[in-house]
């Protein structure tokens, strides 16, 4: 990895917002491609953060501050990417399901997907099945991402999938689910297309589902 990319990568893992912002700008000044900075430094860094979380080295506070460092870098990178009109690989409607206000995991997934060149329609938390359906209907989305932290709100994932079916939109989108109480089996049982246990694996899953 080139030294400047290594510094960006390490900056995200160490949650150094200012360093990441500065180094991303520096890399752009060196006429490095935005896509390269993203894919060779920033996305791998968040994947590493995800791995550290999975291994019990990092917990939610570390994830959050690392994500903020990633965001700081994205704030510099995004205008350039928009200007260069980098093709999005997929369009994602994301939300935490109805009754559930926990949005940390969902926000991380959105940010990682955005970093992986997906376009995101983030509906926030406490999103009703109808709101998911509306957005899918009125956009060119091809992926739906649902999150739930509570065992008591998980059933609204199934309700949302049913609502998509009822609206004739189920075939238009791939549905992915995640959240602390979720399992692959649960995802299979409710008829989702995929489940990911963490944000980095959510990106890999989304790419696979859209064939990117």
């Amino acid at each position: 990895m080139e030294p400047i990319l290594k510094e960006i990568y390490q900056g995200i893992i160490d949650a150094e917002q200012d360093i990441v912002r500065e180094k991303v700008q520096q890399a752009l000044n060196m006429e490095m491609e935005a896509g390269k900075i993203l894919n060779e430094a920033m996305v791998p860094a968040m994947t590493e953060v995800g791995r550290l979380f999975e291994e019990g080295e990092y917990f939610v506070p570390e994830m959050l501050v690392c994500a903020r460092a990633m965001q700081a870098g994205m704030s510099v990178l995004k205008p350039v990417m928009v200007e260069q009109n980098l093709q999005s690989v997929g369009r994602v409607v994301a939300g935490t399901v109805k009754g559930d206000l926990h949005d940390i995991g969902k926000n991380l997934v959105c940010m990682m997907l955005e970093g992986a060149a997906f376009e995101i329609y983030d509906l926030g938390s406490d999103v009703s099945p109808d709101a998911f359906v509306d957005k899918v209907k009125n956009s060119d989305a091809n992926v739906v991402v649902m999150s739930a932290l509570l065992t008591t709100t998980m059933p609204n994932m199934k309700n949302t999938i049913e609502a998509l079916k009822a609206a004739g939109l189920r075939d238009k989108v791939k549905v992915m689910v995640g959240g602390a109480p979720l399992t692959q089996k649960y995802a299979d049982d409710i008829g989702a297309d995929g489940y990911a246990p963490d944000a980095s694996r959510a990106v890999a899953l989304a790419k696979r589902l859209v064939g990117a």
């Binding site: 559930d100 065992t151 998980m154 059933p155």
Partner: protein, 293 residues
């Protein structure tokens, strides 16, 4: 009130049985997915009371008020923020009606406020303290036998809750954490660290409730026991759920599975045993029978 009873009974070496889950059981009885159980305190009080009665019939020595999400911060999300005190008082009344004529104790349940404190989130410490303070006063005035601050994961939030309880009530106090990353909370807190930090604030009992698997819960219990001389409250969840054809969460851990583990929980140092998410009255019956064996 049976206030004297609680700590005396525990310190005499008696193992007490606490109830099972509130939310997942009310859901099985028709509570809509995503609705907190607290809304049924007003909408279906008879069902809340019936669940209490079912746990008592199953052998519970302690029932928890249906006030887990009873801080104004959480209730505001249901449009009930203004009725926080009324809801907590009503929930205590329902518990009292259910225990009438028995020696069953009523624990006033206080769960997390559901928002992250600054700097990770946006919640101010003083607002968090205030929310717990209001609920502590309402539960205390309602006449619960002791206070239970439960399902905590963040040392700062739990400390604010404990401080509010200590500042405004003389009731016995239990503080229980949820180790949903195995033997760490989602914020990375270990049982040993929790024992050290929370004991210093002056609680009467430390605890573990909910988490990941029964095995992880037991590991957390062992670590907590090494870190404290206080009695231990232990209410593990019935594993993680899968889903049935109706879309309802179902828990694979059977009442017999849980009952069979009670001997290990007591051996590992639990003074109060019960169940969290997924634990039905039948689970509690098996736990109670194992305790009495």
């Amino acid at each position: 009130m049976n206030t004297e009873g609680f700590l005396d009974r525990v310190s005499s070496g008696q193992v007490l049985v606490a109830d099972g889950a509130t939310g997942t059981n009310l859901q099985q009885r028709g509570l809509a997915a995503g609705k907190p159980g607290e809304v049924w305190v007003f909408e279906h009080p008879e069902e809340v009371k019936r669940l209490h009665s079912d746990f008592i019939a199953a052998g519970a020595d302690i029932i928890l008020t249906c006030t887990f999400g009873g801080t104004s911060i959480r209730l505001a999300q249901e449009g009930l923020g203004e009725r926080t005190v009324e809801l907590n008082r009503r929930a205590v009344e329902l518990a009292h009606e259910a225990v009438q004529g028995t020696h069953v104790l009523v624990a006033g349940s206080l769960g997390p406020v559901g928002q992250m404190l600054k700097p990770l989130g946006t919640l101010e410490e003083k607002d968090c303290y205030q929310a717990y303070a209001e609920q502590v006063v309402a539960l205390d005035a309602g006449g619960v036998d002791f206070l239970l601050i439960e399902t905590q994961f963040d040392l700062v939030e739990a400390s604010l809750a404990v401080e509010a309880a200590r500042d405004l009530s003389t009731l016995p106090l239990v503080c229980s954490f949820s180790y949903d990353r195995g033997t760490r909370t989602m914020m990375g807190v270990r049982p040993s660290k929790m024992a050290q930090s929370i004991s210093d604030l002056g609680v009467d009992m430390l605890g573990i409730n909910c988490g990941r698997s029964l095995q992880d819960n037991l590991e957390a219990l062992k670590e907590l026991k090494e870190g404290t001389d206080l009695p231990i409250w232990f209410k593990p969840n019935a594993g993680l759920p899968t889903v049935d054809e109706k879309g309802q969460a179902v828990y694979d851990v059977t009442p017999d599975d849980m009952g069979a583990l009670v001997v290990d929980w007591i051996a590992a140092g639990a003074s109060v045993v019960g169940g969290c998410c997924g634990s039905t009255p039948e689970h509690i019956r098996q736990i109670a029978q194992a305790v009495k064996r």
